[in-house]
């Protein structure tokens, strides 16, 4: 078989169109979603600081900044409509537009989780005078561990979106067992009958927060699935997910 001409788009799946404005439109769309992603990471970090360290100001900042992420989500929708109407994308472009639409939804919902954590952080210390050391070292460490895992996954998934990088996306799935293990252990810890120092509503706040942090990791996995959909043209959601991920891992390491 004769050699193919050099790829005009090189590494960027969204670039290389003859109509360069099309490249710019796809870049604008992706940049909005990356902006949303970075804001969500900041939101989650601030919300978890509010939860663990009791910094109320961080919780209020999270609540104040949330509408900006929602507006960006609307901007992303508008760009998606525009690209579909103007360009009628096909093949990889169609996958990019569909995937970015789904990713925007996941990023926006991850932002909602940060708000949920911030609200729980405020509710946890409601009507409590000494708030600084509400969570003992053990509990703080457990929350930090869960937050670290979920945030790493989310950050990596957003990095994968930046270049539709399959290897980075696969890296997100590698962290799933640890995320679930840490989350299960934390839930079990909070559900112990001998857990002292917390009122029932405070335990509910902590359980809700733990669940929200875990869900941020789930959103990261959903985003990684979409990156693979764009780059490989394979929809790995639901059906044979583990088998497909393993096949892609082997392919990536070969």
């Amino acid at each position: 078989m004769s050699s193919l001409p050099a790829s005009p788009r090189q590494d960027d799946l969204a670039a290389g169109h003859t109509v360069r404005r099309y490249d710019r439109e796809l870049k604008t769309l992706r940049d909005i979603i990356l902006d949303m992603g970075h804001r969500v990471i900041e939101q989650v970090q601030a919300a978890v600081v509010a939860l663990i360290d009791g910094e109320e100001i961080q919780a209020y900042r999270v609540l104040d900044r949330e509408p900006r992420i929602d507006y960006l989500s609307l901007d992303a929708d508008e760009e998606i409509f525009r690209v579909i109407a103007r360009r009628q994308p096909t093949a990889v472009d169609l996958r990019i537009v569909l995937a970015l639409s789904r990713i925007a939804g996941d990023v926006e919902r991850a932002g909602d989780k940060a708000v949920r954590i911030a609200r729980q952080a405020l509710a946890l210390r409601d009507q409590v005078s000494a708030v600084d050391n509400l969570l003992d070292d053990d509990l703080q460490s457990r929350f930090r561990q869960l937050d670290h895992r979920a945030c790493c996954m989310f950050e990596r998934s957003i990095e994968a979106v930046a270049s539709f990088d399959v290897e980075r996306a696969l890296g997100v799935f590698e962290d799933e067992p640890e995320l679930f293990g840490t989350s299960d252990a934390l839930r079990a810890y909070l559900s112990r009958e001998d857990l002292k120092g917390f009122k029932p509503y405070q335990v509910v706040c902590l359980l809700t927060s733990a669940h929200a942090i875990e869900r941020i990791g789930n959103h990261a996995s959903n985003i990684a699935e979409q990156v693979i959909y764009v780059a490989e043209g394979k929809d790995i959601r639901y059906r044979n997910r583990e088998i497909l991920i393993e096949t892609l891992r082997r392919k990536a390491s070969a």
Binding site: M1, S7, H17, T18, Q88, T90, A91, V92, G233
Partner: protein, 287 residues
Amino acid sequence: MSTTLDEMTVRTRATTSAELASGRESRETVGDVTSANPRMVCRHVDVFYGSTQAIKDVSLDIGKNEVVSMIGPSGCGKSTFLRCLNRMNDTIDGCRVTGSITLDGLDIYDKGLDPVPLRAQVGMVFQKPNPFPKSIYENVAYGPRILGLTNSKAELDDIIEGSLRKAGLWNEVKDRLDKPGTGLSGGQQQRLCIARTIAVSPEVILMDEPCSALDPIATAIIEELIDELRSNYSIAIVTHSMQQAARVSQRTAYFHLGDLIEVGETNQIFTNPKHKLTEDYITGRFG
């Protein structure tokens, strides 16, 4: 069950001396070139215009009751290949076709075969509507009359009404059949040409950019018509409109520099093409 790229690749090429002389081998076709229920079977078709090779070892089936669209950049050979299917290239001096093309198992390039009845069996609709400078009635009647398909005026009338109905034109022209065909609008003229093709009971209809001279409304009517005609005929269509290929066809073939690069279900070609050249072309990344 998913199919791997390797399984889907069909090698259709053995390097010929002509190719060696031209310094370039043809490319393998990605995808399944065969049809479960083929009407026309093309194998290893090469077309030369003098010493220039326009088509390189193309194999493709046109199935019963399916629309196959052929897409590709200008000069890729899609129209040349289409014209091979009813020996229209015979009319071009210096054009030589090798390989095998059969219609229902019969070799259409058999030396003993008369191309005139073949062109009734494999009709053609061209880019620009080309009605005869005759009445609407005579445009449709010409083929059946010259081929001796009817014995009476009543029978001919039935064929004309049926053809115009199938072409979606009857209601618009039934009261002015004696008026010139050239007096119709562009879209109506193209449907008249389709009626003229249908009138001689073809098995296959070839369409070479049939909507490129039409406005969007006339185009939509022709596309709807193509979908209806599929239940009775096999259709091969060359189009520069990828959206049209995506809308009207069940299978799509992508040509590039005389090679058939990829064939596949239209949904697959437009959502997840296997060959990079196909993807670059349909996403507008070419050149």
